[in-house]
């Protein structure tokens, strides 16, 4: 498939990447968009992997929530688009 829409994945696709960074199951964590205030589980957000890193966007307004780049033994995590990330204590 080459349709543009099929380049879009969802937060389930970065469950492994987030798991290796945070050592937590992150797809059920909930993030509040810093742009429009919509709250979504990470599993629900839009994810684009066809870039040098993963770009995570709010499904409601399109704001970039998170950018994650992994390389040369490091992670760069830009979370400036997320106002709040809520995790339930185990």
């Amino acid at each position: 498939m080459s349709e543009m829409s099929d380049l879009k994945l969802d937060g389930n696709a970065i469950g492994g990447l987030l798991g290796e960074i945070f050592n937590l199951e992150m797809t059920s964590a909930e993030g509040t968009c810093g742009g429009c205030g919509t709250v979504n589980a990470v599993g629900r957000v839009d994810v684009y992997m066809n870039a040098p890193g993963a770009v995570v966007r709010c499904p409601a307004c399109g704001q970039v929530l998170m950018r994650i780049v992994h390389g040369r033994g490091r992670y760069w995590i830009d979370m400036s688009g997320i106002r709040c990330l809520e995790l339930v204590e185990n």
């Binding site: 829409s5 389930n12 937590l24 185990n90």
Partner: protein, 250 residues
């Protein structure tokens, strides 16, 4: 329920392929023995990593097909001709070969038996895999939650788990399976013969007044079309959980 956070130590493990079953011309199920497997939930996936002789690595996510009740892990993989990983997994891999994987991954797209809500499962192509783990989980524990599966495939030969679905639906009246074939149909085909549409959803999906729980898995365009039709049918977006696989797969 939806926000349970399970701490995981996500490290790469080596599994040994014990069995390979060809499901369709392009799809195979690999059963993998992972010595320290921690167990999983229906709907979760694993990441599989291949390393070439020169150190180049390619990694893809595959849904777990086996229910939590089975000790051996099974993944069902569709071979994508231009893929980097799937042509190796479906075609070259043999029993006793080793594969590197990590998981289980995911806590959002997960169904646990005992949830009282009626269940609607909508699959496009190999999107059936995590939904099959849910159906098998339900069968393994004898859960009687009414389930309807709407499953879209290209052709009859592309229907994954066809016999098992027939058997399970025949043995248990609380499971209903509706197939649609979008590309070609054999003479005498009695299922649907078109892409998902509002009339099909009207006939197959639970009425909105039932407040069902919905899992949709398939290519991104399929998932978005199906979710849109269900919202038009009166479902709340919050009832619907989706998992997409797109052009980065394979």
């Amino acid at each position: 329920m939806g926000r349970l956070i399970v701490p995981t130590k996500l490290s790469w493990q080596i599994g040994e392929v014990t069995d390979i079953v060809r499901e369709t011309p392009r799809v195979a199920t690999l059963t993998i023995d992972v010595p320290a497997w921690s167990g999983h939930l229906a709907g979760q996936h694993v990441d599989v990593r291949l390393t070439a002789d020169d150190g180049y690595q390619a990694q893809r996510s595959y849904s777990i097909a086996s229910p939590p009740e089975e000790s051996r892990l099974a993944i069902t993989v569709e071979r994508l001709e231009d893929g980097e990983v799937s042509p190796y997994l479906v075609g070259e891999l043999r029993p006793k070969d080793k594969v590197e994987l990590r998981g289980p991954i995911g806590g959002f797209f997960v169904w646990r038996a005992g949830d009282p809500r009626r269940l609607l499962l909508v699959a496009g192509g190999s999107g059936i895999v995590p939904l099959m783990a849910m159906i098998r989980h339900r069968a393994a524990v004898g859960d009687q939650t009414p389930v309807r599966l709407l499953y879209s495939s290209r052709t009859f030969e592309d229907v994954i788990y066809r016999h098992e679905l027939e058997r399970l639906a025949g043995a248990n009246q609380t499971l209903t399976v509706a197939h649609t074939l979008t590309r070609s149909q054999a003479p005498g085909w009695t299922g649907y013969a078109r892409r998902l549409d509002g009339a099909m959803v009207e006939e197959v999906a639970w009425p909105a007044s039932d407040h069902p729980q919905v899992f949709i898995c398939g290519p991104t365009s399929f998932v978005e079309a199906a979710a849109g039709l269900l919202v038009d049918h009166g479902y709340e977006p919050g009832w619907i959980k989706t998992e997409r696989f797109g052009a980065t797969g394979g």
